[in-house]
Subunit: 338 residues, 4 copies
């Protein structure tokens, strides 16, 4: 940890801080300069955090040297984590496609879309039963009935299922019906929920928050892994920027950046990341080329009648076409769509 | 609602949509142009939402005319809402100061800070018992013990108390100990929590999310009011932008914008909004001048030893000085600090 | 154009505006609603702009229907524009690679890097002679000497050259030495410069500004084309967001979005777009998969001694490797790297 | 300067870098840690910049200790700079109001608005003759004729004048007609223009770029001061964020942040900063409370017929009202509106 003192700090101020650093068993460093004095503390940075130097009136800036996350870091755990989604493996050379409607709208509707996904070669089904909606006047999902539909249809087509969890109190119910949990971007820092999901073993697809830095996403994953569940799949889904042409700005830079620092698999959601159907296919291909381990994408058997997110859902024939193109790009970068 | 058709849309496409509009009891409008056809639907826009036109393959854009919120809107309810915080009134010509430490750290510590707040003329105490922290390795709050301390100290100094609620399951416990709930920025779109807070009557201080537009904040408030609790106080606390000089960018534009559109009182949090102690006082004064109904501010009896957010907590003498200056600015804009 | 009146607007207010619309030869539309009156003006939107309705005290909002750009739009000109860079064609099925150092540092240095680019199959050379630098204390480029080096080396290796122009007064000098102009992101809205570049015929590579919406970029291109030069190549190079992991956020969504709306070729700059050498290759591949017409990328024969941008410049062997991988991805999406 | 090595860096790598630091006459520091080695270089940081360590393959991160600007810094020059605008002083306890239309539209129009400004107690006139417009189809200003009108009217009402300069080639012409230059946000990093303005002595009002950090603004000012002109006035005018309720997000945090670090006066532009007439007055008052040295604000004798920016221009009576309120707030924070 690097500590830059204010210009008005005295030698005595620096001495006191160095003493506190030493008292914690860390190695103190003193670098007096002509315009600023800089101190260093070498050792376990998490111990230094307890010094709470940020509030000190003579300290200008405190800069950590190490990343604040540990368990999700490649430095600690260099090999890729592979997360099992039913029989399917996410990560490790495979390119995974999770597809389905935004909301589960009914048995018939979900069956139709599931058949489309299955036929085109998708690996898992997505669908929302509990929907977080910006407006209280929008459709909020079928709830438990939606979960039952997902379970029944998932079994019929032989595909694992993923659905969003909004609250700790729903975890058990959801676990009884689906293969994996999704934590939505609005809940990425719902730390109570993250901890609870860490205390069970089903896979968790953790979406990046709309204003979350990559580091925040990795720290959110760290909450889950710290509690004992390392079946975490990260998901880039677009961040909030000034650009209004797209609903969000899908930040593909995050893919290689995370892959170089963390062993967890990383998916991309080109549907929410763009909010526009006509951008979904090119951005899905770009995600594959950038090194993503897969995508989660919205498909609907009849988008113009979808109860939510119709404008970003692919038509069945568009999805089939996407799968073919993905196979080509995945192959070009040494991944396998299967 | 205004519906812009794609250039390739035919008269028949337009006709079908106009029929769907009419079937809902709304007034359809047809505006054929040389380059685009534009349709209109006049009437209850929330009914039109059920048409789900966004997903239609021949529609380029759908623009609502009315704001999506109703109950929190000044159009429906032109007079200022006044929210009672114990004996104190928030809104309606008063300028309210809620102050205290980031976290409740112990009985002695909280008592000392509470005495500072009381003496300088603060109107309510803030303090965190359940803390949402970006890193799992940071201090997470005293929990129930913190609530008990707040209750005891609040009664001793005769001030109402405000604390953050993280989860539906804590609502009852918190309600037993403090005067008002705070919903933090990370939970602004935790819709389950918002609904539950709408089903009880204690005041709710709702903080704007870091990536939330003003409209999203008003829709989040609408969730609470829809359920029956209109004791909602909005709070601007800084948004996420590219600027790194400050922890967040306190968006004071939101104050007059909201005051013109909503009847709810609006506070400002200059501590989180800037993340720097030396900016807290000028931004608190600016908030008062912009028309805010008050501030919620971090004060600590000894910031250089604070367990969290020390770098943005005011020293006791700084808080006393702030109160004097606030009185002058509030007076200049016709508000009363009392 | 759609005009939403304020709630307090009277029928007489609406009437006056409709009269002004009609007087311009446009078709006025009146849509009285229960909560708001909406007006429409059908016809040439650019004529309506002269009404300057935005300042009217009874008007709440004015929403255009048509895109504000014309000449760069695919609606007017559906076929892809192909821009000649010397013998090389940009656009139309080709994937172009423009490569070289950030700054031209000397004849020997530039020759070495040019040889690397040539050998690996690059199509054009980039290099800065006039450098816009955030700090007045940074290296500002070799100026005219740099241009002479570019000309000499370009002829020796047989590749066209591209360099940045900072000011109208440099246009002639630059035109005498290099094949194409680059307008940097800080000058994207230097309208005087854009107009002057529109009055000559050399190709212009126009980079998106860091806070520019896609629409702003297209309007900047429109400035050049309006003056008579349609040899414009657009370039996405990263926008300013809250994320600090990367220097900028490369916005690949812009690629398909622009390709669907404009006939101009679109390149991507993965070097400035990420600011990190280790992200350049994956993002270049992603750009190709997203449908870009090429990249402009920083390569240096010895990045650890580069006078500027060393941290984002590829090593010679990395560039050769990138070219091989690009060929595979370009092929997978039906483009040719040649 | 702090240099964090990559985990794979060897002792030899560190040694080489320390040697380069020492060779420059700086004091090298070696801090080997268990997970990372950290190096320091104490002394003139601008000399270290020539080491160009950012491109080194074994270096993870380079963090400067000192601010990159010098001449504009309060550390070097602790007392407030006062800039003379004709007879009027900007800075140093005065609160300055510069007001006028967006564009100079004609002699009669400008005279009318100037009379409004004069009568209400404004200190200087603003007006655009050369207008930077996003679209080539918008009104681009009267050019030289506009300058003549400004000169004539300024003399008639006895107020100094400020106008925007777009290009180096216009400097002389503008200097002949008006009192001070304005550099618009789109030109904040037009370094050629900044240098040229530094080589003359008329005051320069430098507006913050829409994607510029505060540090970038101070470095832009440094360009002007380095050339010899210290008559620089900084101006916060709103930054680009995700919020669409306002045209820009006026970042008042910048006021106290800059005032604590720089000796230059700081104004605020609440007209462009919000883009909405009804927010101008509250944000102008907030700017005064936050410690700004003044405002530059758009007023028009007839906003609903303004040729540009009508929606954010104050009516004459609104401007008079603003002046009265500003006097009260300025007084409350110890400044004088005169």
């Amino acid at each position: 940890m690097i500590i830059v003192m204010k210009p008005e700090a005295t030698t005595e101020d620096a001495r006191q801080i160095l003493d506190r650093i030493e008292a914690l068993g860390l190695k103190p460093l003193h670098m007096p300069g002509s315009e600023r004095t800089v101190l260093g503390a070498i050792g376990n940075e998490r111990a230094i955090a307890s010094l709470r130097l940020e509030g000190h009136p003579k300290i200008e800036r405190v800069t950590p040297i190490l990343a604040p996350y540990q368990l999700v870091s490649r430095e600690l755990h260099p090999h890729d984590t592979i997360v099992k989604l039913g029989e399917h493996s996410v990560g490790g050379g495979k390119f995974t496609v999770i597809a389905g409607p935004c909301s589960v709208e009914g048995l018939e509707e979900f069956s139709k879309t599931a058949a489309v996904v299955r036929e085109a070669g998708g690996h898992a089904l997505r669908g929302g039963a509990f929907k977080p909606r910006t407006s209280p006047y929008s459709f909020q999902g079928l709830g438990e009935q939606g979960l039952q539909i997902m379970q029944q249809v998932g079994q019929e087509v032989g595909l694992p299922t993923v659905t969003e969890v909004l609250d700790v109190s729903d975890i058990e119910l959801i676990a009884d019906h689906v293969t994996a949990f999704q934590v939505g971007s609005r809940n990425m820092q719902n730390f109570r929920l993250l901890r609870a999901l860490g205390q069970q073993q089903k896979p968790v697809l953790l979406k990046r928050g709309m204003a979350a830095k990559i580091e925040d996403l990795l720290l959110a994953a760290e909450y889950i892994v710290t509690e004992g569940n390392s079946n975490v799949i990260l998901c880039e889904r677009g961040i909030t920027t000034f650009e209004t042409a797209t609903r969000n700005t899908l930040d593909l830079n995050a893919i290689p950046f995370i892959k170089q620092r963390s062993h967890l698999p990383v998916l991309v959601d080109p549907s929410h990341g763009t909010g526009r159907r006509e951008l979904v296919t090119p951005m899905a291909l770009a995600a594959a080329a950038a090194g993503a381990d897969g995508i989660i994408v919205e498909v609907h058997h009849d988008p113009s009648n979808a109860l939510s997110d119709g404008q970003q859902s692919l038509y069945p024939e568009q999805f089939a076409d996407l799968m073919k193109r993905l196979a080509a790009v995945a192959d070009a970068v040494g991944k396998e769509l299967a």
